[in-house]
Amino acid sequence: MKIKVVTAVWCHACLLMKKRIKALMKKNPELVFEMIDLDFDEDKLIGLEVGKILPVYFVYHDDVLIKRFVGEKSIDELEREILHAD
């Protein structure tokens, strides 16, 4: 499962979530996270519906987008959102 996460350096919740994402990656090494910077990764943002709230998570299964969700989450919430995405 691959998760693209759109963040920005000035975003409080994005910084907070980075530690939680690292913890989740340690617990679930099969999850692949790709961090995308809203201000600097224009080419990687093409086709992604970012909206007003950061961070934005795009969950892919076999390269198919199966879920999009946003905002600050606890580690448990983040795990639930991703592992039960389909």
């Binding site: 000035w10 709230i53 905002g71």
Partner: protein, 369 residues
């Protein structure tokens, strides 16, 4: 136009702008030049630094003039990281200015771990939680002095004492506090602020460092006013900053009383409106009135007030949870209030008639679906 967004920036005081223009005309020489005009400009700037140091009750060697509080925040975090590469842990909060978060994010990308101090229901930082986060490899604790949404003033001296018990450096962004309330800079290790929040010009900020504390500079060059920040000294901006600081310090008490009276006047009227809830609390500076207007959304509400010729703000333009103010939720535990909050920031320049117009506009404010 009614301006009620003084926490975002302030109009320059005409006395300050006169100093700015006069200095630009009379002290245009490069203060680093050896010739007589350069020497005069240098002497002029030394006098300005001495005056600023006297106003802030510190030594002039403690003052590092820079372009903004954003630069000061970046400089202290990144400069300390360069100086102490073995310390890879930073403590901050969710109510910091975006520039502090930006600097911390940049370090996180280089392998630093960042922890956030909780706030309690009264909006003050949870010092027990802070204590539990302190580590031997903590590089710095950086916590803002005044929440820019609610105006809640944090107990800086208690935070500093807690950090110092563990020999950990404490930095505070005091931008929203400077000029409004007395600040004992000597209790802090580092502090950031800017001139444009105290009726001075944009483009000039200050990083204070306590005696004997240092970091690796980010801008290297000639040893100008400070070895910690090289560049040709901006004489006119510095003189204007000093004048703005002098005015804000000289008139601090009377301005504080005037703003307190205006806040009371506004709150007395707002309390009669059942749609309005007051979010600022007893720890908030009088310059900040944070309210929730139920059944409205700030993204449209700000446009509505603009159509009434009133300028104010909602929560800091950023991100995070589902479009609610984390600062307001922390002190109200009410999601509807957190999703409908507005920041009215007032000044000694504010008129009662302007507040009357705001109250009328709130009463006429359309409901959102």
């Amino acid at each position: 136009m009614i301006y009620l967004d003084y926490a975002a920036t302030t109009p320059i005081d005409s006395i300050v702008s006169d100093v700015w223009v006069r200095t630009e005309e009379e002290q245009f020489a490069n203060a680093n030049s050896r010739h007589i005009l350069g020497q005069k400009a240098w002497a002029f700037l030394q006098m300005q630094l001495s005056q600023m140091a006297e106003l802030l009750h510190v030594q002039k060697e403690n003052l590092i003039l820079c372009s903004s509080a954003t630069e000061a925040n970046n400089t202290v975090l990144k400069g300390l990281a360069l100086k102490y590469p073995q310390k890879k842990h930073i403590i901050t909060s969710m109510i910091e200015h975006a520039s502090l978060i930006g600097a911390a994010s940049s370090l996180e990308a280089q392998g630093y771990e960042v922890d956030f101090v909780d706030t309690k229901e009264d909006g003050l930082f949870d010092l027990e939680h802070l204590k539990s986060l302190l580590r031997t490899d903590t590089l710095v604790v950086s916590l803002i002095a005044v929440n820019s949404e609610t105006g809640i003033l944090q107990p800086l001296e208690a935070i500093a004492a807690l950090c110092h018990e563990s020999n950990i450096l404490f930095h505070s962004d005091v931008t929203q506090a400077m000029g409004k309330v007395p600040i004992n800079l000597k209790e802090l290790d580092f502090a950031s602020c800017s001139a444009h929040k105290i009726y001075g010009p944009k483009g000039i900020g200050l990083l204070y460092r306590n005696d004997d504390l240092s970091f690796i500079p980010l801008l290297h060059g000639g040893n100008s006013l400070s070895p910690y920040r090289s560049s040709t000294p901006q004489s006119a901006l510095i003189a204007a900053f000093v004048k703005a600081l002098e005015l804000s310090m000289t008139h601090q008490k009377e301005r504080f009383e005037k703003v307190s009276q205006l806040k009371t006047y506004l709150l007395d009227q707002l309390r009669s409106n059942p749609r309005v809830h007051i979010n600022s609390n007893e720890h908030s500076l009088p310059h900040f009135v944070n309210i929730s207007i139920l059944k409205t959304r700030p993204e449209k509400g700000i446009d509505y007030f603009s159509s009434c010729d009133i300028c104010l703000s909602s929560k800091s333009a950023c991100c995070g949870q589902d479009e609610y103010s984390a600062s307001v939720y922390a002190i109200t535990k009410d999601m509807e209030r957190a999703q409908s909050s507005y920041r009215i920031s007032i000044s000694h320049l504010t008129l009662e008639s302007e507040l009357d117009a705001l109250v009328e506009a709130i009463e006429r404010m359309p409901y959102e679906d």
